[in-house]
Symmetry: C2
Subunit: 316 residues, 2 copies
């Protein structure tokens, strides 16, 4: 398998990207070949210094970079030689099997949705976040921000995508799906939640356990937590701030340390037809390593084939 | 001033209600007279044991109780001799100046909205939560659950109500109002947030500072945080669970201890024409004391007159 990595994306590129590559190659036994996309002149000395196994990677030169604040659609169109544009080109033409970048998030979304395209039957691709639980496991919460306004059908699709993700990547058999809501009983909630509940209840592809409340997010009550991207994004950023506050207050707790969402690396764009992973701008080496790992898992588990299968069956 | 207190409401009534009365009378220098509504036979021995100044309270006997799980509208209609029904009767007929209960929340809402009624010009009464900040102060977040679906105009009214509350009760001059959203710039967010932003921006009664994100909720960025009740309720319950998790993990931190939202007592129903305060079902003595205190502050600061004034002026 060939994994494409944008070496120029993120606030600390390319140094932290190189560190991530080294961490990955040093610690993970893998037959993955890394395709490092970036400015050759900047990369070569860093890679030489890192003393990597040269059979494990190759470099694809890119002469442009899309800045973090550039207009996504415009930049992607005009900067054909940027690392992000080249990454999507390679992915689209099957030269790589996954593409990872911590660069301009908007450009990554535009590339994922318009050059890679959603899987047939999927209305809205989605992004998720890992949800750390006290028992050491992770759940997943989705959508966390790209779908601020949703229809019930969108949430029902997120539930299926999240379930497959939980099975393939988080290793949870028969993951429990909860609808994030403001009451436990059926019939509670805003109009969207009320209309979504019956769709989840009758969906045979998921293990729906009903509504869950804000207090249940970090419990083991549900493995897949479904909501629209407005609420999901606020929950994610609130949780991130709890980590920051804990650090400021010198609280050292094994569990709260797992609220360092930035270390997880990034989120796949679920629902598009090839593996695309978008990282935080401030990704450090460990985050890059985790994203490469995630790409490997997505490929090895055949997550995308399973999603395609599920959405070509009639019931979704 | 005469403050009505439902002694039969809450999971630990009437004992914890009596404890709250004692705490209040023992620690607060006040000319408030407490009107204790409840079963005289149950109250008399507890009050005698508490050794209270008898000039500070009187008892109004109620022979019925509305259970925590009863249907609000039905129970309120059928149980005219319940402590909640009597409380609203007394408030409606100006025999008391505020009414507090930790009983059936639905019945309290129904009573507040249908027997006390919204202030002229207010479309939707709202409930809020205190937001503890690291600098020792509190902000306020509203709505936290009774308005799951909102129009932009509702949010604009919450902003005005929250600002007056922050001034009168939290003692913040010129409170900063933030719109809870998923991006900082104008134009970001879901359709509701996008449509609400200009209404807040042009409202001369508030000090609007723009959008704030999930990560800013527990910072000092905004004093009044406005959102619909779906998101607000999830934020509140998530924050409550952070307190529970900290306790389970034996984390003792002065700031996280202030996430014990139950100790604050309850929330006023902002926007109805008399002071009504709804407490948590599990309220203990300290919560009852805090609710009595809040009622005193609402009356002394003339919060409701200021709300009425603001909403009879043309611009809201």
């Amino acid at each position: 398998m060939r994994i494409g990595l944008d070496m120029m994306g993120g606030d600390f590129a390319p140094l932290e990207a190189v560190k991530g590559v080294k961490l990955f190659l040093d610690t993970v036994a893998t037959n993955a070949h890394l395709v490092l996309i970036g400015d050759e002149q900047a990369l070569l000395p860093l890679l030489a210094e890192a003393q990597l196994d040269q059979s494990k990677y190759s470099i694809v030169h890119s002469s442009q970079v899309i800045g973090m604040d550039e207009h996504p659609t415009k930049a992607l169109k005009e900067k054909q030689q940027s690392s992000i544009a080249i990454g999507f080109y390679l992915l689209q033409h099957k030269k790589i099997d996954a593409f990872i970048s911590a660069g301009n998030t908007g450009a990554m979304m535009v590339g994922a949705i318009y050059s890679i395209k959603p899987i047939d039957g999927i209305q809205r691709p989605t992004i998720s976040t890992p949800v750390p639980r006290q028992n050491g496991t992770f759940g997943t919460l989705l959508d966390v921000g790209i779908n601020a306004d949703c229809k019930p059908e969108n949430l029902a699709q997120f539930a299926v995508l999240g379930s497959l993700y939980a099975k393939c990547i988080l290793g949870i058999d028969n993951p429990k799906v909860g609808l994030l809501n403001i009451g436990e009983e059926e019939g509670k909630g805003n109009l969207l939640a009320q209309a979504t509940f019956p769709l989840l209840k009758e969906n045979k592809h998921i293990n729906f356990i009903g509504n869950i409340e804000g207090r249940d997010v970090f419990r083991e009550k549900a493995d897949v937590i479904v909501c629209e991207g407005f609420t999901g994004n606020i929950v994610l950023k609130l949780a991130e701030s709890m980590y920051d506050i804990a650090k400021e207050r010198n609280i050292n707790d094994e569990y709260l340390d797992r609220f360092d969402f930035e270390s997880y690396g990034g989120t796949p764009v679920l629902g598009v037809s090839e593996p695309v992973i978008i990282g935080h701008g401030i990704s450090k080496g460990i985050a890059f390593k985790n994203m490469i790992n995630l790409a490997v898992k997505m490929i090895e588990s055949k997550l995308l084939d399973k999603i395609k299968e599920s959405f070509t069956s009639k019931e979704n």
